[in-house]
Symmetry: C2
Subunit: 558 residues, 2 copies
Amino acid sequence: MEKLGMNPVNSCPLTPLGFLERAATAFGGCRSVVYHDVVWTWRQTFRRCLRLASALVSLGVSRGDVVSALLPNVPAMYEMHFGVPMSGAVLNTINTSLDAPTVAVLLAHSGAKIIFADPAFLSLLADALRLLPAGGQPAPCVILVEDPYYKEEESTTSDEELAALTTYEMLLEMGDPEFAWVRPATEWDPMILNYTSGTTSAPKGVVNCHRGIFLITVNSLIDWAVPARPTFLWTLPMFHANGSSFPWGMAMVGGTNVCLRRVDAAEVYAAISRHDVTHLCASPMVLNVLANAPEGVRRLPAAGKVRVLTGGAQLPVAVLELAEAVGFQVSHGYGLSETGGLVVSCVWKEEWNKLPAPERARLKTRQGVRTPVMAEVDILDSETGRSVPRDGSTMGEIVLRGSCVMLGYLNDVKATEAAIRDDGWFHTGDIAVMHPDGYLEIRDRSKDVIVSGGDSISSMEVESALYGHPAVNDAAVVARPDEVSGEAPCAFVSLKEASTVTADELIAWSRERMPDFMAPKTVVFRTELPKTSTGKMKKYVLRNLANDMGPTRGSTEM
Amino acid sequence: MEKLGMNPVNSCPLTPLGFLERAATAFGGCRSVVYHDVVWTWRQTFRRCLRLASALVSLGVSRGDVVSALLPNVPAMYEMHFGVPMSGAVLNTINTSLDAPTVAVLLAHSGAKIIFADPAFLSLLADALRLLPAGGQPAPCVILVEDPYYKEEESTTSDEELAALTTYEMLLEMGDPEFAWVRPATEWDPMILNYTSGTTSAPKGVVNCHRGIFLITVNSLIDWAVPARPTFLWTLPMFHANGSSFPWGMAMVGGTNVCLRRVDAAEVYAAISRHDVTHLCASPMVLNVLANAPEGVRRLPAAGKVRVLTGGAQLPVAVLELAEAVGFQVSHGYGLSETGGLVVSCVWKEEWNKLPAPERARLKTRQGVRTPVMAEVDILDSETGRSVPRDGSTMGEIVLRGSCVMLGYLNDVKATEAAIRDDGWFHTGDIAVMHPDGYLEIRDRSKDVIVSGGDSISSMEVESALYGHPAVNDAAVVARPDEVSGEAPCAFVSLKEASTVTADELIAWSRERMPDFMAPKTVVFRTELPKTSTGKMKKYVLRNLANDMGPTRGSTEM
């Protein structure tokens, strides 16, 4: 028995790139990508990606080089996910809402050789390129991805500047549609580089390999029970953890990718009807926008036919209830850039359908259980390193183990060692509790926990109560220094249109729902709260504001 | 970039065993296994499998030991698929229709430490144990898997013999339901040993590892688009390539396993109705039995609701048409024990639905395209080693590459090297053509091709024409020596009840449908044709009969 093992046939590296080659045969004439009047078939997409890979190689790109993209969810962005790694390069999609200094930091850090850019982000890119350190590596070569559906008047780039650029379609023309794509030398070869976006100000470059991406892709399809040939609407930015691995997943199941430049509720509902969309992913923020769209806009072809996958640290019960009332069939999970997609999900139990709606929503807003490809997930007490009891109240850090976990952070040994520990766990920095039924629920990012007296307060628990108030649109709770207890909860709140509520009323509302020490001592009203492009609250901004206010005293302030 | 790679977190071995642990939480209260009045939940199945693993360890089973099972599709057979490898042992399921000398050969070859046996096969096993070579390794310890639903009168084992045996439930009682199951040291550790059954008389021991089984399991679920929580009827023997990996697949998606001791058309249709079965696998032979059941029996709750996956070298068009007329939604694929399940499948194209039924059936009886987890599939010319043209007529050998391919044959370096070649391909020995659309179609086992004059005749093509005749129940075509052309086709045919046809008529029927040289020169009628328990024709038996007849002369014989 022991003589048998890896051999020349079964050691062939796992990679999601072969899904596209297969799709060209198995789904050849089916629609692969749709964008306004642009309709590609899987046969065409395969050939276009081979052209892209071949052209990149002829531009001098070689194995392990970084190729970046500053693109919205247009067809070229989809093609990047195959064409770039098929050249042997590592794909780096950049969050398009970053500012020029940050983009410059990322480009300098990754050493990108080539960057594909949308006309809307050319001036951002030009600013970033000017900020690159002098005397460093050569600036990346810029390729313009033209878009006939982009409204030119928004552009700040001159016609001359535009004319000087190589375009994406010119590049594809150069490429060979019969190119023998570059297979990874091993399944551990880097394939993807994603910078973690902005809940802290120090971006880290997450590197995932072919094996990890292959596995998170099959994991996501099976966990969400994606059927054959779905129609997938691209409401989730592909620059966000590569759209949770679904670019590769759609090639595996022969789905149709419906592209969208931007998420606007009216456009989303129109696209759902026009293309018979069956599946979409949305952050809780986007789900909130869709669920709160005006009544005339908020129409689905049939209730329960559109399946929505949402994830993130916080899915407010109110948002979920609204979305389900509209008719979306919502699934909920949890993942990180470091895992390439969702690795925990709230597997739904039939018996829960009998419960009243608020109870159902409360159960579904829990993050859930590990997805099947992950080996293990646990919640560890940060002091003892032991599993927390399954009591639904003891907080600890979520740790993960399994093949979807990243290789590490690019050129950042310290950050890598802090996350990937010798104890065999990836430490997420997310604080959660384990319920008696084995479902975990996130309580906070570890740095967002408020320590009041000796007690830890989950900022999310307080926020959750605030979201339940009918006037509240958005809520974020952070620590503010407190003379008595060290820290006390401080709430930043934005209200729904034409709604009013006083700080007193919100504090009273909170005290009815939690122990006094957990209720906010301060409530600050804002028209809008600061968020990243993927809808995560920029709590460090609010924490700075709360610090600047100075310490609270004995009583509550408003 | 190059400093990043495998690390203590992402190098955790792939194994399907964790699916059960997850199922105990995610699907804890859902039905896992149903058999008459026995109903287990996933929580219970997990604990029973841990008891089994723990008891095996306490019996002295250690990592890499072989544990065998001689069982029909009863609940214990399902539990073997987790409990045995959870002890670190390698599971060897034995085809229950083998004879005692063959079972003895397998037990001696595998060195099984323990064998679980059904009462129906105790006397077979006793005979086999008596045939074990003297002075070899100790005979395996026999554990009796009692079955209250087995009719005792069929048994030939005495009450005393039965009373002396340890029973499965006694063993589970000994086990610890909180046992920390033995994880594989590496994902390449052997997990499964299956002996190839009987189309030749020399069984080979296929060894698959944890990684391979993990991957074929996800492959099968995605390729067949298995939804969450299906109800799966066990019509395919689990001893046949471990039921095409679906024991592990059901734990991954939280399905219900409906067990069946034997396949009887009336029982199958009754089980479908009683349990709301959504999915089942069937060999073409079993599909034939189901499709030809008496009208009163042949009833489905709703057309298209029961999905059937069938595979094997030959799916007659007539069988497929009948099965679809009954209302089964049939998918078709191809795999081998060496790949652990289906690795090629006939992905259906919507545009084909518009074609007339015979054309649809003709397209669906092709084996198809590679399933997504397999890296590559090709058809090679046996002389040049190059891909055959995509012309639908040039025959070559099917070769495969990818992670689902076995480690090798146990203690058989020669056979392993013949199959797993240094060219990086697994050579299947199956002969096929590649159609212009990239779908492959099997024409024969390489040893079944008939060489007439200079031409190769696919025995399956001739059989396919014979199956189209309304009187034909079963047909097998083999080479018979021929004075003029070396070999000529000789058909063995069984007829449907109350049908008649002459040899002359069948030869004329064939000649209308193929070139004269391909039509059978001899037709032999039999009440039944010799088959293996999984429905494969024992062609070597027929070939011997045809040889014994001596050579055909110039004209056809009947």
